[in-house]
């Protein structure tokens, strides 16, 4: 083979290895065509436009059929679990929110629920804080599913869904920004409640946004549901039935698309989910199209829950959003001023000018944090991808001893092999997109 800058080759003990990096591969295909070898091992990623992040897929092909599929992960391993051990319990929220970066609120809530369990204050969380948590989680579910549709479509070559999806995502992010000050990675849910109350006029704005979104969700729906190209790319692709899901510990939309109505919000309600009316969406096709339909249905259910939250918030106007126990509650209140979100001036005036005790208290809680009784706890929430579980261990100190996340993306990605082997190489993309792994969650 003559020298080709895009495709060089070398001999190894495993056989001949070709490196191709884009461009014209004519020579490579001619040469492979000339050999008797039918089996080719293709490495896809970790930097590939259609692998949903820094995922590496190692595919063994016979012609266009995938005979073996393996995932290489860890390219985004961030050591977050170790980092939390060096910060206070409250600061831990700031780290865990960056794990599954499409579902920050779910990570925060799960983490805070486990800390609250350790503290034994699960039933002292004020009702308004619970409602705000539920509302933020459901908004977050919408924004996360939107990215799934957008990038999933992009990976299958459909450009339009991402524009509709990100338009709706922006609507949600605007609400997030108004409520928490940040579009992503908010660190808004805190042990004991939430960082601050929702602004006074936000509720009406959220109602309005729900009305708008209910209409604008139709765009993607009419574009994709029943679309013959979309159906051909996703129907009967990435098949994983109920038995497969159970063996592999798969949860979330994949499990519900296999016909099992398992949703922690219904089966093991937390944060007051038992007070809301909503349905668990299922399909029984067990394929990528079914998962798409489940996610689509969940959008509407999320809107329903958000609207009920708005009603609750109206009723609970002025109620506290942090536990009453001052030894745990975060002392500072945030507020928006000319240069953005920051400590409220009223609070700063109090601690700096009026009360020495308040200053000492603020200093102790903010720098040293609160002590958490020794022990371990596990708390789980239903994130957009399945069960996000947090195992926290405390040794009685002001910092976590160990925080471990059971990430649904990490677990569900294991099913790639079961979904892809025996199928065509083009279907690998659909299958992985329908798992909707977020590499930040997979690798943590």
């Amino acid at each position: 083979m003559s020298f080709d800058p895009y495709a060089s080759s070398r001999e190894t003990t495993e056989g001949r290895v070709y490196s191709v990096t884009g461009g014209d591969w004519d020579e490579l295909s001619t040469e492979i065509g000339a050999t008797k070898e039918e089996r080719v091992v293709v490495n896809m990623g970790p930097q590939h436009p259609s692998t949903h992040g820094v995922l590496r897929l190692i595919l063994e092909l016979e012609g266009e059929t995938v005979t073996e599929a393996r995932c290489g992960i860890g390219y985004l391993h961030t050591g977050i679990e170790k980092n939390t051990e060096y910060r206070t319990w409250t600061q831990g929220v700031t780290y865990v929110t960056r794990m599954d970066y499409l579902a920050p609120i779910f990570n925060e809530t799960a983490y805070c629920m486990s800390v609250e369990k350790l503290l034994g204050i699960t039933d002292q969380i004020p009702e308004r804080a619970q409602v705000i948590r539920v509302m933020m989680m459901e908004l977050n579910r919408i924004s996360s599913h939107m990215v799934c549709f957008g990038t999933g479509g992009l990976e299958l070559g459909a450009l339009t869904p991402i524009f509709f999806a990100f338009r709706d995502r922006e609507t949600v992010l605007d609400i997030f920004e108004e409520v928490s000050g940040l579009r992503m990675n908010m660190a808004y849910i805190r042990p004991g409640g939430v960082a601050q109350d929702v602004p006074a006029d936000a509720v009406s704005r959220i109602r309005e946004a729900c009305r708008d979104m209910r209409k604008s969700f139709k765009d993607n729906e009419t574009l994709l549901v029943g679309n013959s190209i979309w159906m051909k790319r996703t129907k009967d692709v990435g098949y994983l039935d109920l038995a497969g899901c159970m063996t592999l510990g798969v949860t979330g939309p994949i499990l519900r698309a296999a016909g099992m109505p398992w949703d922690l919000r219904k089966s093991q309600p937390y944060s007051g989910y038992e007070n809301y009316n909503f349905d668990v969406i299922t399909t029984d096709t067990s394929d990528a199209y079914g998962r798409f339909l489940v996610r689509l249905g969940e959008l509407e259910q999320s809107l329903r829950i958000i609207e009920q939250c708005c009603d609750f918030l109206d009723k609970l106007n002025g109620a506290p959003v942090m536990v009453a126990d001052k030894k745990i509650a975060w002392p500072a209140q945030l507020s928006v001023s000319a240069d953005g979100m920051g400590n409220s001036l009223a609070h700063i005036r109090e601690i700096m000018g009026e009360s020495m005790e308040a200053l000492i208290h603020h200093f102790k809680i903010v720098t040293e944090g609160f002590r958490v009784p020794a022990g371990q706890a596990y708390a789980a929430v239903e994130s957009p991808r399945g069960e996000t579980g947090v195992h926290t261990v405390s040794d009685g100190g002001t910092r976590p001893y160990r925080v471990h996340f059971r990430e649904p993306s990490f677990n569900n990605l294991q099913s790639t092999a079961a979904m892809c082997e025996g199928g065509m190489i083009a279907d690998v993309i659909s299958a992985v997109a329908s798992i909707d792994p977020v590499m930040g969650g997979v690798d943590r």
Binding site: G74, H77, E81, K82, S267, H404, N411
Partner: protein, 206 residues
């Protein structure tokens, strides 16, 4: 001026006294559905007293401390017995307790029974010098990657696992990063010829 040096504490305050967590056994009645689980397991598994080292009820959760030799038997019964039916194992979480001599490394398995809507936790502890635990991939296939992760981060060797290799760190990485004796940072960056000082050694933290 601020903080302490040498403890790896980068939070700027330091000086914390850590008390080791205790794992004394709880007394019956355990409350909730926990007694039923214990009874059913005892009935289904005659060697219950040998296998279960301690039963701990804490924060509304039931933990069974299992002897590692019996782990696989216990797991199979928990999965297959119609009264128990824990169909799902939600992974493995390693914990390193350097102070608990003889049982430094713990592996924690959260189990979930969808049929009965119950949760349970298994905990296995092994000494650092002999960090072997039988694999549960045969029982719950979904544990495959979770066990690889725990091996990667803590160095617990899961005997019988078909491909126990590193999963998150590069294959040639030395050490198991989430153990307590592993520093938070300060790993030399091999691509530049320069080193990055450990966070606790950096100027702003002193």
């Amino acid at each position: 001026m601020f903080g302490v040096n040498g403890s790896g504490d980068t939070s700027g305050f330091g000086g914390l006294v850590r008390v080791g967590s205790s794992s004394g056994s709880s007394e019956r009645p355990y409350g909730s559905y926990f007694d039923e689980i214990a009874d059913d397991l005892e009935r289904a598994y005659p060697e219950f007293n040998d296998a279960i080292e301690a039963v701990v009820v804490q924060n509304g959760e039931l933990t069974l401390h299992v002897n590692r030799e019996k782990l696989e038997d216990v797991a199979r019964i928990l999965r297959d017995n119609p009264k128990l039916q824990f169909e799902m194992c939600l992974g493995v979480s390693g914990v390193h307790y350097p102070d608990q001599t003889g049982r430094e490394l713990h592996a924690v398995y959260p189990l979930l029974s969808m049929t009965h809507n119950r949760r349970l936790r298994l905990e296995v502890s092994v000494p650092d010098s002999d960090p072997h635990i039988p694999t549960l991939v045969e029982v719950w296939a979904g544990n495959n990657w979770h066990e690889r992760e725990t091996f990667d981060m803590f160095g617990i060797i899961f005997d019988g696992h078909a491909g126990l290799t590193r999963i998150l760190m590069p294959d040639d990485w030395a050490g198991h990063p989430q153990r307590k004796d592993y520093p938070l940072g300060g790993i030399p960056v091999e691509f530049h010829g320069a080193t990055v000082p450990a966070p606790s050694e950096r100027r702003s933290y002193r």
